[in-house]
């Protein structure tokens, strides 16, 4: 027997079938292990990369002169970590705002070594070279990377006064977001 069957019903029926065909859920322990920050999972790899990041010298005067065309902001020493290679490409913070403990940040890579749709951004403290924050940045249509992150109280208090033209108290290690899947 046939009857009228609209798209909504069809999709809901398909959804029910998908539910009944679902694989077993992953174990919580496994998820927790995978969710650990990468610098805890691979401390040796982190040590190598942070050494290289710390060695990056940025000539601020030169870099500022290179970006006179519409953009402000100091370059942030950045290491882009692909699976088997690390690339250096200064990031330029175009916008930074901290309000109610939440960070909103936009940055641009210049030059762009390889376009990635998203990065896991690890903020490394400028002085101690320790990881202080990790967040996801996604590529916007303007070719900028944008991220929103909840900040711990101490960072929020310190960064609230930062202006985009200030020298940033952090460096970046960028990892393509798909590496984490």
């Amino acid at each position: 027997m046939r009857r009228e069957f609209d798209i909504e019903e069809l999709l809901r029926w398909r959804l029910e079938r998908a539910e009944s065909d679902a694989p077993l859920p992953p174990a919580g322990l496994r998820l927790l292990q995978r969710a650990r920050p990468w610098w805890e999972l691979w401390p040796e790899r982190f040590a190598v990369q942070v050494r290289r990041l710390g060695a990056i010298q940025v000539s601020y005067g030169y870099a500022m002169a290179q970006f006179q065309h519409g953009h402000s902001g100091h370059p942030v020493p950045t290491l882009i970590n692909h699976n088997d290679e690390q690339l250096e490409a200064p990031a330029r913070v175009l916008y930074m705002n901290v309000r109610d403990g939440k960070l909103r940040l936009r940055f641009q890579l210049d030059p762009i070594p390889r376009i990635e749709r998203g990065f896991e951004v690890t903020f490394i403290s400028e002085g101690a070279l320790q990881p202080i924050l990790s967040a996801y940045a996604s590529l916007s249509v303007d070719g900028e990377y944008r991220l929103d992150a909840e900040l711990p109280e101490d960072l929020a208090a310190t960064w609230e006064a930062l202006k985009v033209t200030d020298r940033m108290p952090f460096r970046f290690i960028l990892r393509p977001a798909t590496d984490n899947i």
Partner: protein, 255 residues
């Protein structure tokens, strides 16, 4: 994308009371829910967690270290519906499982910002959907469904607002044999696959997620009218595909 997200206008924000060190949500909940597993108190060793409300489980997951048993219960409680939503977006079983797990990883990496009293199911589905949208963003820009084509749909209203019915095209699924159900599932997936990610997203958001055209429009920065026309176009494309496909099947059966 950050793990904090808006769900139906509600933002998940972690607020901490500087005086007590307890989250305000913990503090409030102590008075509202007896036995609420606040930080510092030992958790039970038995398996009673399966009866816990989401808020208790979430608070237990937010602790340091997180309570694995509570996480297991929470994952299991929403796994099937989360997977199903991911399946209908990705149209691939393995990709759906990856996407669902990635949503969980995003949430766990920012677990302290979880709001126990929020709608957790809506939240994790939103995280997964946003991840899927992020992945499609580049492909969409590349041109398969460029904005120019979407604009051309804005004025189109081929059915003049009539409901999209598939009369005599798709049978009542409840009366189908198992083999026929498998074929229908494949047809629906192929029909959805033919839609651009934009159109698939609005169709799923409207009919599966239950969002209004106005709500979807706010996300896409388009008018309600525009989104309605996208939904109609997506429905029309599905109807055309299913009509062609199932008529072909019928002809093949008759031969």
């Amino acid at each position: 994308m950050n793990a904090s997200a808006q769900v139906r206008g509600r933002t998940y924000v972690h607020v901490t009371s500087s005086a007590s060190g307890l989250s305000l949500m913990d503090t409030e909940s102590q008075t509202a829910l007896a036995g609420y597993p606040v930080s510092g108190l030992p958790l039970p060793r038995d398996d009673s967690r399966s009866a816990w409300p989401d808020a208790w489980l979430i608070n237990a997951v937010r602790r340091d270290p997180p309570d694995e048993m509570s996480l297991d219960v929470l994952v299991t409680r929403y796994w099937k519906t989360l997977f199903a939503r991911c399946q209908i977006l990705t149209l691939d079983r393995e990709a759906a499982s990856d996407l669902a797990q990635e949503a969980w990883l995003r949430i766990l990496r920012a677990r302290r910002s979880l709001e126990p009293d929020g709608n957790f199911h809506a939240y994790i589905v939103t995280v997964a959907t946003n991840l899927w949208r992020d992945r499609n963003r580049t492909a969409r820009r590349a041109g398969a469904m460029a904005d120019s084509r979407l604009e051309s749909l804005d004025a189109a209203d081929p059915d003049h607002g009539q409901p999209m019915a598939l009369v005599d095209v798709v049978p009542d699924a409840t009366t189908l044999s198992m083999d026929e159900q498998v074929l229908l599932k494949m047809d629906i997936d192929r029909g959805l696959q033919r839609l651009s990610p934009h159109l698939r997203d609005v169709l799923v958001s409207r009919f599966v997620g239950g969002e209004s055209a106005a709500e979807i429009g706010r996300r896409y920065d388009r008018t309600e009218q525009t989104i309605s026309s996208w939904i109609r176009e997506a429905s029309r494309e599905m109807r055309v595909y299913l009509g062609e496909s199932r008529n072909y099947d019928a002809r093949a059966e008759n031969r």
